[in-house]
Symmetry: C2
Subunit: 146 residues, 2 copies
DNA sequence: TTCTTTGCAAATTGTTTGCATGCTC
DNA sequence: GAGCATGCAAACAATTTGCAAAGAA
């Protein structure tokens, strides 16, 4: 965990205590592109700190749950795999994911494509969709039958 | 499992053997509104047959996996819960779900609301979204902060 | 000092797998 | 009769939880 000076303010701003473990988790997620499993996060932290057993899995789960509750991270569960988490921060760069059922590949879907749908849903049903990080399953360009 | 005469043809048409277990699973799903966990399915089958231990969990998992592969059922994994399955049959009544992050409640979203988005995605990214059974998370009418 | 968070280990829960037996075609 | 499907129990894997010790405010 190199840049505590970068992550600590984020935690404090969210009203959370700034601890080594939390800073490490935030750093690991912020530097990631796309989704990370708890295992990925642990490995990354252990690598950064060059110290096996640097953080307990339960701590990572608890931290992520807390962060998700605040809206700083989002989670997605794909079939046949563990939950994965992603940093969504201020949701300024909210986006969704297109996940291929065949190859498992993942591509980003910019928020503005979803925008109209979200608004539509909220108007018609009073349900407020969470911004960002929705996973849409289907078949990617390379795997589709045609 | 009351109506084997209704489910058996479905299985046969799909090229599968018509067994008691499979008929029971298909029946349980077809009569359900919304998603069902494996546990739900088992309980329902046991209730219908008034016979505890009527079907093994592993059989249900295997059957659902088979059916999903053929496209007859769809699955969704939400955080904090087991996989859930839903009958999508011919996809004629495709639809998505709105799942509340707070109370866990689920409501249907008619296909025509999603329609434009799906088309939009396919046009802009060459990714073909699977019809139906998409779960959108957010906050329902009763749980939203306002 | 006081209240929170962490680590550890044990307990759950959800899902998969191996194999002998039973059932469908 | 041949081969796939099922049940059962054991193996796995992913999370969760309880509790005492360590850390942050």
């Amino acid at each position: 965990m190199s840049c505590t000076n970068e992550t600590a303010p984020i935690l404090r701003a969210a009203g959370l205590r700034s601890t080594i473990a939390r800073n490490a988790v935030v750093a690991a997620l912020r530097h990631a592109r796309g989704h990370r499993s708890v295992d990925d996060i642990i490995r990354r932290i252990e690598g950064d700190m060059a110290m096996p057993g640097a953080i307990a899995a339960s701590t990572v789960y608890r931290t992520l749950e807390t962060l998700e509750g605040i809206g700083l991270v989002g989670s997605v569960r794909l079939p046949k795999s563990a939950v994965t988490f992603e940093w969504v921060g201020g949701a300024a760069d909210a986006h969704s994911h297109l996940v291929c059922d065949r190859c498992g590949g993942e591509q980003l879907l910019p928020a503005d494509v979803m925008e109209p749908l979200m608004r539509d849903i909220e108007e018609r049903t009073s349900f407020r969709p969470a911004p960002g990080h929705l996973a849409i399953r289907g078949e990617c360009e390379h795997c589709r039958p045609d």
